[in-house]
């Protein structure tokens, strides 16, 4: 559909510009403020004649020192151990004596400091790239360090997340884990030109409750300092606001969050049709008081960094902590694979991990892992006197579901279910429900496999939009099978936490929605605005 408001990339900003841009809203909430683009790689000016080599050498030392200091500071500030290790390793590369000596040598050969640094970094980059494999990936690190060092030598702002000393809307092509590690409290909202609903930017923003819009074509052409509004629900970016209008947006969002935070109680439609609003958790630390229960307990989060398989006793303790704290818990057995590695499983690399041995399929090669886990879940249930529901990830066939259900029930687990993440499972929802007690739809993977679109692919965000009719139809098939069997069918993917999608899912017949705790208030509020009949009409039924 042509959009007269959308500029072609690269057109001049002279004349009346667009009033708004559209992207994909991935983290709800509204905000406004001056836009600041994340500084890109510095452009090298034309070489200049070197009058004072000693001054150039001093500039090189200062630039490298600035890069090292900045990386070490960020390593010290982050709470993410992996990010800290990466930043430390980068600092060591920037601190390399060989690199500095080479840059100094280039000065003595007549080059100015920025060019000397550029040449030295480029040579090391080429050396690593030529070695291939892991080291070739480190070549990108050297590009990043080169940009930082050259910017420092030119007196330009360091590439990366800016800290201007006032609130702003951060705009970038996409954010890397290294960028997000440095994201401070001045950032009011995020807008990226690339990225999808399951990109790193989106997940980070939702975790922090920051409004975010991704896949916003044209946002990089908007000049720095333009005051913009961001609606992380609808994906609309308003351009060129007055300071008064911006303040109004910020105030409105604050009032809205206060109103939502004050609301409570179980999820229901306007006509009191109950819809359980459950939490996605990785451990007992993610639980919230007064929640209706847990719809997705991701057990693999307890063991992500282990080199040894977690023992029976340790698993019992971790599960019992969650079971004891809340009434209703749906436990998902370990969801891992070569795309989502658990070191202790020791799975060999695969050419196509998303289509390989992952989820329940790991049981084909390592059956003892699931046996131990089911034993531990049953024991934790016994110790706490609770009856957790248990489900398996990445189930594809009815036989897999039946096999899993048999093993769980033989241990006294009474409510057994499977996740629907593969179209083959959705197409057989009725047959699956003849074997198990409930279904839980994982919309992120179901999108990926239905649309043949990598969920991390930044250029395919439209295919991964949970409003895609083909995805909604598969969800409807599952819900219909559940209604016929009188068994619950929930959604626990990102779609479940989208307030605009929640009424549609309920209209399709979904009986529970499971999401990150921060998303519950907005979903509860939106559901309460619609009767069940309205939900059905929204769903096209």
């Amino acid at each position: 559909m042509p959009d007269p408001d959308r500029p072609d990339r690269g057109t001049s900003v002279a004349g009346p510009g667009p009033r708004s841009l559209m992207g994909l809203g991935v983290s709800p909430g509204r905000s406004a403020g001056p836009l600041i683009r994340m500084a890109g790689p510095p452009a090298l000016p034309a070489p200049r004649a070197v009058a004072d080599p000693a001054a150039e050498v001093a500039t090189i030392a200062k630039a490298l020192e600035a890069v090292v200091t900045d990386l070490r500071r960020r390593a010290g500030e982050t709470t993410d151990a992996t990010a800290a290790e990466i930043l430390d390793a980068l600092a060591m590369m920037a601190d390399d004596p060989m690199l500095r000596e080479e840059a100094e040598q280039h000065v003595h050969d007549g080059h100015d400091a920025p060019h000397a640094l550029d040449t030295a970094f480029t040579r090391h980059r080429e050396t690593l790239a030529a070695l291939g494999g892991y080291l070739a990936e480190r070549a990108a690190d050297l590009d990043d360090l080169r940009h930082r060092a050259v910017a420092a030598a030119l007196g330009l702002p360091m590439p990366g997340v800016p800290s201007p000393g006032h609130p702003y809307v951060l705009v970038a092509e996409d954010l890397s884990p290294a960028d997000t590690a440095g994201l401070g409290g001045e950032v009011r909202a995020l807008v990226t030109s690339l990225g999808g609903p399951t990109s790193h930017t989106a997940i980070l923003a939702r975790g922090r409750g920051l409004p975010a819009v991704v896949a916003c074509v044209g946002i990089l052409d908007v000049p720095d300092g333009t005051v913009v509004s961001v609606d992380g629900g609808t994906g609309e970016i308003g351009l060129g606001l007055t300071p008064e209008a911006a303040a109004e947006v910020v105030d409105g969002d604050r009032l809205e969050r206060e109103r939502l935070a004050a609301s409570g109680g179980p999820g229901r439609t306007a006509d009191d049709h109950p819809v359980k609003l459950l939490l996605n958790i990785g451990s007992a630390a993610d639980l919230r008081p007064n929640c209706e229960g847990v719809g997705l307990f991701r057990t693999e989060f307890l063991f992500l960094d282990r080199r040894q398989a977690p023992g029976f006793e340790e698993q019992v303790a971790a599960y019992a902590e969650v079971f004891a704290a809340t009434g209703h818990v749906v436990v998902r057995t370990l969801d891992a694979g070569t795309d989502k590695p658990l070191p202790f499983l020791g799975l060999p690399a695969e050419p196509n991990p998303a289509l390989g041995v992952r989820g329940l399929r790991v049981d084909r090669v390592l059956p003892a892992v699931l046996d131990t886990q089911l034993d531990a879940i049953a024991e934790a249930a016994r110790v706490t006197g609770t009856a957790p529901w248990v489900m398996a990830p990445m189930v594809t066939t009815v036989a897999e579901a039946a096999g899993f259900a048999g093993r769980a029930r033989s241990r006294g687990i009474t409510r057994v279910g499977v996740m629907v993440e593969v179209p083959a499972a959705a197409l057989q929802a009725r047959e699956l429900l003849a074997e198990v007690d409930f279904l839980s739809i994982g919309t992120n993977d179901l999108s990926q496999y239905t649309f043949a679109a990598d969920r991390q692919h930044s250029g395919l965000a439209d295919l991964l939009d949970p409003r895609q009719p083909a995805l909604l139809r598969l969800i409807a098939m599952c819900a219909e099978a559940g209604r016929a069997a009188g068994k619950p069918v929930g959604v626990c993917g990102e779609a479940a936490g989208d307030p605009l999608l929640a009424p549609i899912l309920v209209g399709l017949g979904v009986t529970s929605l499971s999401m990150a705790a921060v998303r519950v208030p907005a979903v509860r509020d939106e559901l309460a605005r619609h009767t069940l009949d309205e939900c059905r009409r929204l769903a096209g039924g």
């Binding site: 060591m92 892991y134 080291l135 070191p343």
Partner: protein, 93 residues
Amino acid sequence: MAQRTVTVASASGLHARPAKLFVQEAVRLGVPVRIRAGERTVPATSMLGVLSLGAVQGTEVTLESDAPGAGEALDTLAALLSRDLDAGEALDA
């Protein structure tokens, strides 16, 4: 010239975390040491140099130093390389 020849024991080779630990130790010791793998010789304090050796698990490397009394430093670094520096630690990204 003092020398020690040792086989890289770390599962991930002399990359990532093991390379970082090795270079940190070389910097800490403060004795000029070179590390050689095949035709390539680099200072042990150079992260980029050590990475560029491309040493994997099982690669034989030689540590050498002309500094007087470097034996102890060479022993320390050789002992480090002959341990699996990945073991018992979180995987490097």
